[in-house]
Amino acid sequence: MNTVGKVITITSGKGGVGKTTATANLGGGLAQSGRKVLLIDADIGLRNLDLVMGLENRIVFDLVDVVEGKCRSYKQALIKDKRFETLFLIPASQSRDKESVTPDQMKELCQELRQEFDYVIIDCPAGIEHGFKNAVAGADEAIIVTTPEVSSVRDADRIVGLLESEEKTNPKLIVNKVKMDMVKRGQMMTIEDVTDILNIELLGIVPDDELIVVSANRGEPAVLNATSKAGIAYRNIVQRLQDPSLPMFTENGNGNWFGKLRHFFSRERAAL
């Protein structure tokens, strides 16, 4: 691949809506479709991406070491995930804080990384302070993760405004932890409600799925699981990231997931 790669930051404002899970699964899904992907945990001081991916025992160098020049180049900090042929991780530091890295350092690093990878996905920390600015500085695109709840949507709206002032226009949206039965009973906002309010392009939706807890427990991202609803949803988002004309994953009226399952198996075979 001779073309320059894309740097995408996954942000939300609100904590706990699924940024780290989305980073792990989007990265895994893109690697499954043959792309060379690097994941960066920008949550310095509170690292989690390594844990969710099950790579916590393989950390040698972290992002702060790379930026401070403690290792000769970023290549020494790379952790290769053996389950996906082309997936790599640069973890965050657990002992430093977000001021140990500057936005300019991130911009420079991303410029270097674009030459080597098809996708660089940055897991942004919650909040709007230094950590957010670091994660966004080097990005080409932003994906905002929200849940259909009042606090997350309010914070996501603030993030849309902040991204505009950082000139990262046209962010895309993932609505996570959707409970379709609650939506049908009118006790949870609909996807249309959320997209109406935020008024940005919808990339995809991910249903609430117990398997996400299990996959974090084991350190096995949901995209590795063939039957998980969330895994199927993330694989769909990965496809739509590369081709926005593809249809979005939604639950049909009966809550029947098996039709979608068959469909996605055949799509995966076609992709290989």
């Binding site: 009042v150 309010r154 939506v183 009118g186 949870m188 906002m189 309010i197």
Partner: protein
Amino acid sequence: MLKIFNSLGLLSQFLSKIGWGQEKSGSVAKERLRLVLIHDQAKVSPELLETLRGEIIDVISKYMEIDTQALEMGIEQRDGSVALAANIPIVRLKREKIAAAIQNQTAAQQHTTGNSSQHRKLIRKTTKKYYSGKGRPLQQTTPRV
């Protein structure tokens, strides 16, 4: 009778507590968010209110002298809706400007309903041709609009 009214009141209180006959919480959430976000976005860009204030002062000052120091403007929430509210103390009206505005308004109205003096001139022009010396029409004409 009073006892029945009292128990009805208690009944409706009980029903609203268990959420019967109320708007579904999903739509309540959406409406609350819509209002709170208007507030949030206005707070985050005070430049918007400043620009609005300046432009509104300019427009109103064309027709009346106003006390710009005492002018109050802001976003208010009332009863489930959000409004841009302004309190603009008037010192005096600019009579000449208001008269001119009224003239412009009525001239515009007359033009569209076809009674303007220009139109009347056109009618006189066309009808002149078709009247004989004794004042009787030679041909019926309808004036062109």
